[in-house]
């Protein structure tokens, strides 16, 4: 039997984490191939509805990553994002959505190794948690059957 391989979506900003992940590549640091990166101009652009959409569409875990505080290419996008995630996490938690499955991080363009480490530890964590059936079921049950 093959081991459970979580589906991970990474929502990252173009300037820090996307570039950081590029650096992971240029440094040839290996990490789990379970992750799919989606490029956004800035963490400030990332809509929370995309996160629930990702879960509904089959993601077992999500990584949201951008520039460290004060490093935002656009000055404040990550600060707005940080607030948004605070509130969103609180809501998720209240509604029983598993916040362990949404990993937020700051990965700068210089932190190629950190990116690999974030993905790998997320991968391990999501493996432990197993498939996010609760949410998947939500979107597939009822009339889809």
């Amino acid at each position: 039997m093959s081991e459970f391989e979580p589906k991970i979506v990474a929502f990252v900003c173009n300037w820090c984490t996307y570039a950081g992940a590029d650096l992971t590549g240029t440094s040839r640091i290996k990490y789990s191939s379970n992750v799919r990166i989606i490029r956004f101009p800035c963490t400030g652009r990332i809509d929370y509805m995309l996160l629930t959409k990702a879960f509904a569409s089959g993601a077992d875990g999500i990584i949201v990553s951008g520039c460290h505080p004060n490093d935002c290419h656009y000055t404040s996008g990550n600060f707005h994002a940080r607030r948004r995630w605070m509130v969103f996490r609180r809501l998720c938690d209240f509604m029983g959505i598993d916040t362990r499955r949404i990993i937020f991080s700051w990965v700068s363009a210089a932190e190629g190794a950190k990116w690999a480490q974030i993905v790998n530890s997320a991968n391990e964590e999501f493996k432990k948690l197993g498939p996010y059936e609760n949410y998947h079921k939500l979107s597939t049950q009822e009339i889809f059957e």
């Binding site: 509904a56 940080r82 509130v87 809501l91 209240f94 509604m95 029983g96």
Partner: protein, 267 residues
């Protein structure tokens, strides 16, 4: 009540306002929102402690569009709503005359926005003990049970959008649920569509909700959806020390930030 009537009549007869939004007798022993356009009509105006509808809602509806100045019988919830709407550029001070009423039902006269801000601050608005108990009950559930609770609770939602329609803060010309390219929220009132709709609504109200409870009162299937935004109001208060509906220059929690917002959850 007589004082309210007196003020309303005077304003109307002096043509300082062209309409008063208030209450009249409704079906059986209910009250209903009513709109008085002349001083004589005002005789029908009533105010008692069942007058809980958030009348601020109507300031954003068709009926107020072409009226130069609208008077509104405003309990603290309405006042807060108006202040919040003003901070979001949705109502203009010169078009509204607020006739303020305290939680105890005492008329405090006509309030300009500045006075309304002061008034709102004197009218405490915390969570009611039963609401807090409800929230705590939910929080005490294990994760999965919490999830199932909400899924089941929302499964009865018929998506009639009475919650949206009766909320003064839901004034978008085109609600997110009505955008269809992409279709952010499934149109159907199935479990998934309902869950997404309520997540989105709670997020949109985070830091803006003034906790009037109209959404739940309006819900034909009695879903306690106000608990989501109440809980977030509380959270926003704790984390960011801001509260909606107290200042016309308020920057809602989700469109502002500080450099020291907590980030212990960020790796």
């Amino acid at each position: 009540m007589e004082e309210i009537k007196k003020i309303a009549k005077q304003l109307l007869s002096e043509n300082k306002i062209q309409m008063v939004i208030g209450f009249e007798k409704g079906t059986a022993n209910k009250v209903r929102p009513a709109f008085f356009k002349n001083a004589d009509d005002v005789e029908k105006l009533i105010y008692n402690d069942t007058c809980i509808h958030n009348l601020a809602l109507y300031l954003k509806k068709d009926i107020c569009h072409h009226i130069a100045n609208v008077g509104i019988i405003a309990n603290p919830n309405v006042v807060r709503s108006i202040i919040q709407l003003a901070s979001e550029n949705q109502v203009k001070e010169e078009k509204i005359t607020i006739i303020g009423i305290s939680y105890e039902g005492k008329c405090v006269g006509i309030l300009d926005f500045k006075a309304a801000e002061e008034f709102a601050k004197t009218q405490p608005k915390g969570l009611k003990p039963e609401d807090r108990a409800f929230i705590e009950k939910i929080q005490a559930m294990p994760l999965e049970e919490r999830f199932n609770y909400w899924v089941e609770t929302f499964s009865t939602c018929v998506k009639c959008y009475a919650c949206r329609a009766s909320c003064p803060m839901c004034y978008c010309g085109k609600c997110n649920v009505e955008t269809n390219n992409p279709q952010w929220i499934p149109v159907a009132s199935h479990k998934y569509g309902n869950m997404e709709w309520h997540i989105m609504r709670a997020m949109h109200l985070a830091g803006r909700c003034i906790n009037c409870g109209e959404c739940t009162r309006a819900c034909p299937v009695d879903i306690p959806l106000n608990m989501l935004s109440y809980m977030l109001t509380d959270f926003v208060m704790d984390e960011f020390h801001t509260e909606a509906g107290l200042s016309t220059t308020y920057a809602p929690a989700l469109s502002s930030y500080t450099n020291v917002d907590k980030e212990n959850f960020i790796k």
